[in-house]
Amino acid sequence: MTAIDHSRDVSTPRPRARNPETRRPSRTGPRTRRTLVKVLIGLILLIELYPLFWILTSSFKSQDEFLTQPLWSLPSALSWDNYVQAWTTGNLGRNTLNSIIVTLPSMAIILILGCAAAFALEVMIWRGRNNMLLFIIGGIMAPIQIILLPLFTIYFKAGLSDSYWPMIITYVGHGLPLTVFLMATYFRAVPRELFEALALDGGGPFRAFFNVGLPLVRSGVFTVALLLFFSIWNDLLIALTFNVTDDYSTIQVGLLHFNDEYGSVAYGPLFAAISITVFGTLAVYLSINQQVMKGLTAGSVKG
């Protein structure tokens, strides 16, 4: 603080020395500067959006157009054939359903277990709770690769391999540490007086959780839910590891297999499949984008 005050004191009595410095940006002129910024933004938008434009136009092209027409040409007709083919023969419909069946229950279980555990670790008072919190948060450091092989053995021995359970259980276990950690930081911000007041009113621990704790960390729950949604929806490693038959393939696995099987022959349907997954996810994102940015980065700033 003292250093700042000092520098301010020094700078005020010598305006002549300061002038050329502050004028320097204006030498290029505010107008050229504004043009430069505009060009830069234009370039950024081109880099970000051109790939999307390209998938979209390609997804409407017929096989013939891929082989005979130049790259820059636009599709001659707005035909949905590629999309129909991707959705049915490509099994994308089934895959989307699988992704929903896996993602939503996983999210729900993680949030319920994670919020309750975070409440017990942050709000409830007992000996050893800090060590327990550290023990659970330690799981954030463990890379997922290390748990996959033993889990595969467990699911195989337990006869669970042929179901959605391996994916759901693994997502839940892997998502818990970060969720507990983030929810604990949200619970930390809730004023203790509220719980004291509830206790004076004769409320028990469960009312403290459901009626006071949870409503106050609602926005935190929403943020964490988004983080979980995108990480589970877009996961490939776990989904591919426990994908014993195509019946349980999620979108990511389905897209990968679709590319292996038809990618080199059916260009149009592949582009349609990419387009469906990309624009589907994009729609979710754009409808709540500020929250998404906050949610996805919360996991790393706090972690």
Binding site: S7, A142, P143, Q145, P150, A208
Partner: protein, 294 residues
């Protein structure tokens, strides 16, 4: 008060389910995985005790060596790229666009949420030569450069991988670093401006030192995710040609599920874990030292 918040039964009800799942899905498998390192085989055909064979193989296996070198190379390039691009975007948001940065921020961020597999398949098509030259080769054609087969050598494929993963993730680091930059007090920057600091000098001497903590956590986060790179490369070119662009994680996956050797797969998983932990600790410690010096 303590009667309510110290209620043992309630604590057990809140904590036990999460704790049990955590123990069963994370803690026990981590220990189990370590034990697997001493065996060869898989759960379907059975295991055979091989002592330290897997660990010595780690040092003699050529593929492990190339995979480790590739992973380190990838991590170095990607982390430097992500931090430089992310920081440049963050500076652009805070100092040039200011209040109107929301739109650009959204546009640069959206690839982060896209499914990695879809992005990889898209980039494979963007860089293709057949059946139709992709946009990248077409663009090079405008400058008179003949179409390049981007997937014919490790060096070419590496370029595609880096460009793709930077496109996909730079928005994330931009928002992360942006969040750190807006925390820098306005008064400090104002007074530095009055002192005549502007442009590069303002960033170098005032903004950079003040945003060091968030920069550091970004580097740790970036390195950790780079060491675990898997889906983008698997879907782009499956680590080819040969094993030229196979990272450790992909090699671990192939060893375990294609060659069905869980023992060696576990050993590779351990190598990835050790790599992540040691780099994190290293950066943590060096940053601590710098702070005490300053």
């Amino acid at each position: 008060m303590n009667y309510v918040l110290g209620n043992k039964k309630a604590i057990a009800v809140f904590l036990a389910p999460a704790l049990l799942v955590y123990l069963a899905v994370m803690v026990i498998p981590v220990v189990w995985s370590f034990v697997y390192g001493f065996y060869q085989g898989n759960p379907i055909l059975g295991f055979e005790f091989t002592g330290f064979d897997n660990f010595t193989k780690l040092f003699t296996d050529d593929t492990t060596r190339t995979a480790t070198v590739f992973t380190l190379q990838y991590a170095a390039v990607i982390t430097i790229g992500q931090i430089i691009l992310g920081y440049s975007f963050a500076l652009l948001y805070v100092f040039v666009l200011r209040k109107s940065s929301t739109f650009v921020r959204t546009m640069v961020f959206f690839p982060v949420v896209l499914p990695t597999v879809a992005v990889s398949l898209l980039f494979a098509r963007m860089f293709q030569v057949a059946p139709q030259v992709g946009p990248v080769n077409a663009l090079l054609g405008l400058f008179g450069i003949a179409p390049i087969d981007w997937f014919d050598s490790g060096a070419h494929a590496f370029v595609v991988i880096v460009v793709m993963d930077l496109w996909r993730t730079m928005g994330f680091y931009a928002v992360l670093l942006y969040a750190g930059l807006i925390e820098v007090p306005e008064e400090i920057i104002e007074s530095a401006r009055l002192d005549g600091a502007s442009g590069f000098r303002l960033v170098r001497h005032i903004v950079l030192p003040l945003s060091l903590p968030v920069l550091l956590s970004s580097i740790i986060f970036s390195l950790n995710s780079a060491f675990k790179v898997f889906d983008s490369i698997l879907a782009l070119n499956n680590g080819g040609p040969g094993t030229a662009t196979t990272p450790l994680n992909l090699y671990m996956f192939q060893t375990s599920f294609i060659y069905s050797d869980y023992g060696y797969g576990s050993t590779l998983a351990m190598l990835i874990t050790v790599l992540c932990l040691s780099v994190t600790l290293l950066i943590f410690r060096s940053s601590r030292r710098d702070l005490t010096k300053a």
